[in-house]
């Protein structure tokens, strides 16, 4: 399996330094499903949306997007079709399937729980008894 990695750009004294952070496989899948929930898009658009929305803080290592998309397709969470772009190029457009939409809902719930749980720990000042 292709490791879903996200490159996070963080600032420090030396300026921008790329640092690869291995994230859970599901995280990239979740981001892709979410972007596709607004409507069909090709891979490049998905990459730009993720970049824009994360304020360029989280930036997809763009190549890794494609194995992820195809794997989602293999699981029938997204489906694809070939279209001709405005620049007269053959482009592959992905679309969320009902199964994928369901998956997004489940994953979002799981993610929120995860975030809440981690946040709760981080916000706690005192050591629990």
């Amino acid at each position: 399996m292709y490791a879903g990695s996200i490159v996070a750009y963080t600032s420090n004294a030396d300026g921008y330094m790329p640092r690869t952070v291995d994230l859970l496989q599901g995280t990239l899948d979740l981001l892709i499903l979410k972007t596709l929930s607004w409507g069909p898009a090709h891979g490049y658009a998905v990459a730009r949306w993720i970049e824009t929305l994360t304020g360029e803080v989280l930036r997809v290592g763009e190549g890794s997007l494609y194995p992820a998309l195809h794997r989602l397709e293999e699981r029938d969470w997204v489906e694809s079709s070939w279209q001709i772009s405005s620049t007269k190029r053959r482009t592959k457009v992905y679309r969320l399937t009902p199964k994928g939409r369901q998956q997004l809902k489940t994953e979002t719930g799981t993610w929120s729980q995860f975030v809440d749980a981690v946040a709760k720990v981080l916000k706690t000042e005192e050591r629990p008894l």
Binding site: H42, R48, Y66, H70
Partner: protein
């Protein structure tokens, strides 16, 4: 979903490598143009885009791999969903024609079922390992004397010792005798159980272990050791309640206490069923080299040694023995058989015949199904043509038709499994005593079911492919035009169907010839003049415990009293006893000499069956006296014994001259005996073994402990005297066990079981094939009549008589039948060679059979053809012509 459909219809356009390349290319170009639009220089934009993307080669490889997986999965899913769709369509169209469907499904079921049953039985008997580890190393050793025509004779003790101690190729050789013992104590009456005396190493050679306790120790066969016994799991449960404390305790065997040293595992049997085993004890000094005939031997060959090498090794020992003991061992050699051959060898040929026969039945089934399919295809020519015209490809139509035939085969296969299951159960009853021996596990296991699935698919594809291709390839244009005229003549197709019918008839002729020959063999065997009369006779075996009956006088008293008591019972005509009755396997033979005759040359000695019988024995089994007199109770002199001989003895030893008063030496007595009577020959040995010379001594001259009592009654059901027989024995001595109580008729009929099985199985196949051929013939002729309805109508309208019309149709069937019979008889002529060793009293090329079979076939085929012919004759010309 819709996408996937599109993909299916454009399968050639899916090229994952190109797709992924395009996708990545698009991404990079879009990124570059974005960056350029934001003011970057094209080279920088390109560098940045590539950098952001990462290793494009890795991405490409990974993505392509995923895509290829998706394609493979989709193809599979499409294929399956298409098959399901075709199957559904096929099933619907099959349901529309129930007569066709029932016929085809039943045909397929029969073919698949009988094939499954026979193949599974053959596997169980010929291939499945014997219940001993590494059974391929186990051999049974007999004594053979090829020069004198002896084969598979039991062995002598000194020969066994020589083989055991001088061989270089065996890891062990053990000896055993067949035995039976009376067990008393535990729960229930005294009972007779079978078992054997075994050398202590024998079970270790078989590589079996007891469930509880131990096997015999090295020296437990020595004389004077305390008696020990191993018992079967079965006996342990039945008689001793599965008490594990039994080991180490004693049980009563033949009146003597024996210490139980072990209980064998459940399901262990030796040599046949067997419940008790004791060490083989003998006094080596008393055992002569020539005393063959009382023990069997089993050896385990060392790993890596072949049976041939082991045989050659023992023959080397035999050559030494022949030099050391020229009188006893000259000409004798070890006969080494694999244990499997020894146990099931006689079933090998019949099973081969069954396999060939069942293959022919399956072929007939396939031909018949193909035939029915073709007829159906012809009837559906228009439907197919229309579908083709609407754009269905030929491959697609062929696949649809093929699926239909596979659906039929699968339905047939399901029923076929049921038939096979039932057939295997039926085969169980074919064995003597309705149960196969322990080393044959009959049953439908996963392997057999797997095989049935396989033949089901092969059948479906075999009978489906020809019609499917033919129908799909049919000339669309012609069919549609023909269709507009009603029915097509389809000359080509009817020629193929005719060929199929001819081959069906030919196959059934071959099977019928085989069945007729085997049935005649059985009839010859069962109907042959046995020389005795087994009707109304009951037989039972008795062994007196030597602990209670120490002397021969006591033994004689017991039997004297028993026979007298039995003679007094109402409905009893004659009572006698012998050491072994005909067909019981008591085939003891020994050398015989005539006093005053020149000594025979070595290798030409006179060998005769001998045993001791009571005065009324011959009357009880219904054998008449030819000359001289019967034994009387007074004939008890063991120093000057008298004997009765059979006619074969008179012919062989006396050249046909009157033997009364002549004196003979024989193995039944150390003293010369005077011939006092001659009986008519009767078959003592099991058929088909021929009878030889025989000499009978009076029982009273040398009474033995073990006897078979025969009671001739005036009842049609001699079993009815069994209770009185038991009472009579118990009245004299409660501890004496009565066993093998059966009618003489049962003994005789059981001995023909293999021949009966052969005749029955092949006859069933032949009838099956005949029915199939008739269905095929009927189908072809009705189809032809249906096709010619118009023509026949015209003929009738023009004045042809009904008889003339029947003749026209009949001629067509006659041609097919004649061709089939001719091919079939020719094939039979070559095929019967396979049978020759199974036949009895009939030649493989028996002219009667070769004439009878075509006659039967002609009659049946006539019936199959007469219905459509009659239909043709009833054709109303007006309707026939208007129907166009």
């Amino acid at each position: 979903m819709s996408e996937r459909w599109l993909r299916w219809f454009q399968p050639s356009r899916r090229d994952p490598k190109r797709d992924v390349d395009d996708e990545i290319q698009f991404h990079l170009e879009a990124r570059i143009s974005d960056l350029v639009a934001r003011g970057a220089r094209p080279e920088d934009a390109r560098r940045q885009a590539l950098h952001e993307f990462g290793d494009a080669d890795v991405v490409r490889a990974d993505t392509v791999r995923i895509d290829e997986r998706i394609i493979r999965r989709d193809r599979r899913a499409d294929w399956i969903s298409e098959f399901i769709r075709d199957a559904r369509v096929g099933l619907r169209s099959l349901l529309r024609t129930p007569a066709y469907t029932i016929t085809t499904v039943l045909c397929a079921a029969l073919g698949i079922g009988v094939t499954g049953a026979i193949v599974s039985a053959s596997y169980s008997i010929l291939v499945r390992p014997l219940p001993y580890p590494r059974d391929e190393q186990l051999v049974t050793i007999y004594a053979d004397n090829p020069g004198r025509g002896y084969k598979n004779v039991n062995i002598s003790w000194p020969d066994f010792i020589a083989w055991r101690d001088r061989n270089q190729t065996f890891s062990g050789i053990g000896i055993f005798t067949w035995n039976s013992n009376t067990v008393s104590g535990g729960s229930g009456d005294a009972e007779r159980v079978t078992g054997s005396e075994i050398s202590p190493n024998l079970f270790a050679i078989l590589d079996v272990r007891p469930a509880i306790g131990r096997l015999f120790l090295q020296n437990e066969d020595e004389r004077g050791r305390a008696p020990v016994v191993l018992i079967s799991h079965r006996l342990w449960l039945r008689r001793f309640g599965g008490d594990s404390a039994l080991v180490g305790r004693t049980i009563n065997l033949d009146g003597r206490a024996h210490t139980v040293v072990g209980v064998m595992s459940p399901g262990f049997n030796f040599p046949q069923s067997g419940d008790v085993w004791v060490p083989f004890k003998t006094d080596p000094a008393l055992e002569s080299h020539a005393n063959r005939g009382y023990a069997g031997a089993i050896g385990r060959i060392k790993p890596g040694v072949t049976v041939e090498q082991a045989r050659a090794d023992l023959h080397r020992v035999d050559a030494q023995l022949a030099r050391e003991f020229p009188n006893e061992n000259d000409g004798w050699q070890a006969g080494v058989l694999t244990m499997r051959d020894d146990l099931v060898g006689e079933l090998r040929r019949p099973l081969q015949v069954f396999l060939v026969a069942v293959a022919m039945v399956l072929l007939t089934v396939c031909a018949n199904l193909a035939n029915l399919m073709l007829a159906r295809g012809a009837a559906r020519g228009r439907e197919v043509a229309i579908r083709a015209a609407l754009g269905a490809s030929r491959g697609r139509i062929a696949r649809q038709l093929m699926t239909e035939s596979i659906v039929t085969a699968v339905l047939g296969g399901v029923i076929g499994v049921g038939i096979a299951w039932w057939g295997v159960r039926l085969l169980r009853f074919a064995f003597p005593d309705q149960s196969p021996p322990f080393y044959v596990k009959l049953g439908l296991d996963a392997l057999a079911i797997g095989f049935i699935v396989l033949i089901t698919l092969v059948t479906g594809i075999l009978f489906g492919s020809v019609p499917a291709l033919r129908t799909a390839r049919a000339n669309l244009d012609a069919t549609l035009r023909e269709g507009s005229r009603g029915a097509g003549t389809g000359l080509h197709r009817s020629r193929l169907r005719a060929a199929l019918v001819v081959s069906e008839i030919a196959l059934s002729v071959v099977l019928m010839v085989g069945a007729a020959l085997l049935a005649r063999s059985y009839k010859n065997l069962a109907g042959s003049d046995l020389g005795f009369d087994e009707r109304h006779v009951l037989s039972a075996r008795i062994t007196l415990p030597s602990s209670d009956y120490a002397t021969r006088a006591e033994v004689a008293n017991f039997y004297q009293r028993l026979l007298t008591d039995l003679r007094r019972l109402p409905g009893v005509v004659a009572v006698g006893s012998a050491q072994g009755i005909p067909f019981s396997g008591w085939n003891v033979q020994g050398e015989a000499t005539v006093e005053g005759a020149p000594a025979p040359k070595r290798g030409e000695e006179l060998v005769a069956h001998y045993q001791r019988v009571t005065p009324d024995y011959f009357k009880a089994i219904g054998v008449p006296l030819v000359r001289g007199r019967w034994f009387t109770d007074a004939d008890r002199d063991s120093l000057n014994p008298v004997i009765i001989v059979n006619e074969l003895m008179v012919a062989k030893a006396f050249g046909g001259r009157d033997p009364i008063g002549k004196r003979m030496g024989g193995s039944g007595s150390p003293h010369a005996a005077t011939v006092i009577g001659v009986i008519k020959d009767f078959r003592h040995y099991r058929l088909p073994e021929p009878m030889g010379p025989a000499m009978y001594y009076p029982y009273a001259s040398y009474p033995g402990w073990q006897q078979t009592v025969v009671i001739r009654t005036s009842h049609d059901h001699p079993q009815s005297v069994i209770p009185e027989l038991r009472t009579a024995v118990r009245a004299i001595d409660k501890r004496v066990a009565l066993y093998q109580v059966q009618t003489f008729g049962e003994v005789v009929s059981r001995s023909f079981w293999r021949q009966r099985l052969q005749g029955n199985v092949v006859s069933v196949f032949a009838v099956l094939a005949l029915c199939l051929a008739c269905i095929g013939l009927y189908g072809v002729i009705s189809y032809a009549v249906a096709q010619r309805t118009r023509e026949l109508g015209v003929r009738i309208a023009l004045g042809a008589s009904r008889g003339r019309v029947v003749w026209l149709v009949g001629r067509q069937s006659a041609r097919l039948v004649l061709a089939g019979v001719a091919v079939g008889l020719l094939a039979s002529y070559f095929a019967v060679g396979l049978l020759s060793s199974l036949l009895y009293g009939v030649r493989p090329t028996d002219p009667g059979t070769f004439a009878l079979v075509p006659a039967i076939l002609a009659v049946v085929a006539f019936l199959a053809a007469v219905i459509p012919a009659a239909r043709a004759a009833r054709v109303d010309p007006i309707i026939a012509m208007r129907s166009e």
